[in-house]
């Protein structure tokens, strides 16, 4: 059993479990499944300001911070106790492309030759680690949600604005992946 859990889970197993989070949070306490709002609550809690956007009682939304703390702990548990001993399998075409663009480490779930503390001070690392993070925080709040709030909860609830948002996420990601990332990876 434990061996089975240690293997990478299939897309349908993962999809079912993630999908079930939507009714689970609703039934536990009427909470809409969404993660990027945690960034806003952290700002409201840690960076007091006169800005209207952060002037609300974040303590009423504190469930969301418990939820993301749980996600972090889940990462610890999965890595310490349930780690797959095998190297991650990457699609041939993607791997070939990355190899041609100065990515050399394929042993982990992310390329540790790009995402590490030393790379942070290179232009390539700074763009991927810092600028990327900034765009994620800015964009998700501007869009009013991320993959969980729009693509999963919103689409599940048949919300047209969430479909618009999800298509925009994909278009943005495809543009950068095909037309910008090749240059950044070669920096």
């Amino acid at each position: 059993m434990i061996e089975l859990i240690k293997q990478p889970w299939t897309w349908y197993a993962g999809g079912i479990l993630i999908g079930l989070t939507v009714p689970l949070l609703l039934i536990l306490g009427n909470k809409p499944f969404g993660i990027s709002s945690s960034f806003r609550h952290i700002c409201a809690a840690c960076l007091p300001s006169h800005l209207n956007y952060f002037n609300y009682n974040w303590k009423k939304e504190v469930w969301n911070l418990f939820f993301v703390a749980g996600i972090l702990l889940g990462g610890v548990i999965a890595t310490v106790f349930l780690k797959d001993p095998h190297v991650i399998v990457i699609a041939d075409n993607t791997k070939k492309f990355l190899e041609q663009h100065n990515v050399t480490d394929f042993a982990n779930i992310l390329p540790t030759d790009v995402f590490n503390w030393d790379e942070l001070f290179s232009l390539r690392g700074f763009i991927l680690i810092c600028v990327g993070g900034f765009l994620v925080g800015f964009g998700t709040r501007y869009a009013g949600g991320c993959t969980s709030g729009h693509a999963i909860t919103g689409l599940s609830n048949l919300q047209l604005p969430s479909l618009v948002a999800t298509i925009s996420f994909m278009v943005g990601g495809i543009i950068v992946t095909w037309f910008v990332l090749p240059f950044i990876l070669n920096l």
Binding site: P23, W117, F138
Partner: protein, 163 residues
């Protein structure tokens, strides 16, 4: 009333008048969300959706994996919400379950594109950032801090941006 405010939380909602309310943060009331988060985080890691490589495969159309995960999650979520509405299911404490409809604004396009740019660079949406830190990739703390900074900058310029 207070309970309703929590549910109606949205970006457009100005909750300014509630400042100064000394709501207590209760660990026992919130621990269930921590537990759901733990299972969810394990799922994130084991399904490998926190992998930068999986996101590259998705945007390069080289693998069905991410489409399968998100597609299945939407179908399961949609069936669940359909059943909740059809049978008028209540929360554990007996409240009616409510999901606020999303209002359309241009932010979903502009913000959506910007998030997409960032998603392709970091290979992580907000949830996976937390799971990656837990998985021991400590430099992602910096990505998370920049995401929080990005949110703050959005809050600063919100009224000047097209919505």
């Amino acid at each position: 009333m207070a309970e309703k405010t929590t549910k109606q939380f949205s970006d457009e909602f100005n909750i300014g008048e509630e400042i100064g309310n000394d709501t207590k943060v209760s660990f026992s009331k919130n621990v269930k969300y921590l537990i759901v988060g733990i299972f969810f985080g394990i799922t994130f890691v084991k399904t490998e959706i926190i992998s930068w490589f999986r996101i590259q495969e998705m945007f390069r159309f080289d693998s069905f994996h991410m489409y399968g995960v998100i597609g299945t999650a939407v179908v399961v979520g949609a069936i669940s919400i359909f059943l909740i509405k059809k049978f008028n299911l209540k929360t554990l404490s007996g409240e009616a379950i409510e999901l606020e409809p999303k209002q359309f604004d241009k932010g979903q396009i502009y913000g959506g594109l910007i998030f997409g740019f960032g998603w392709a660079l970091t290979g992580a949406c907000p949830g996976p950032l937390f799971a990656l830190i837990g998985s021991g990739f400590s430099v992602i703390i910096i990505t998370l801090l920049f995401a929080i900074f990005g949110t703050w900058v959005y809050g600063y310029f919100k009224d000047k941006l097209p919505h």
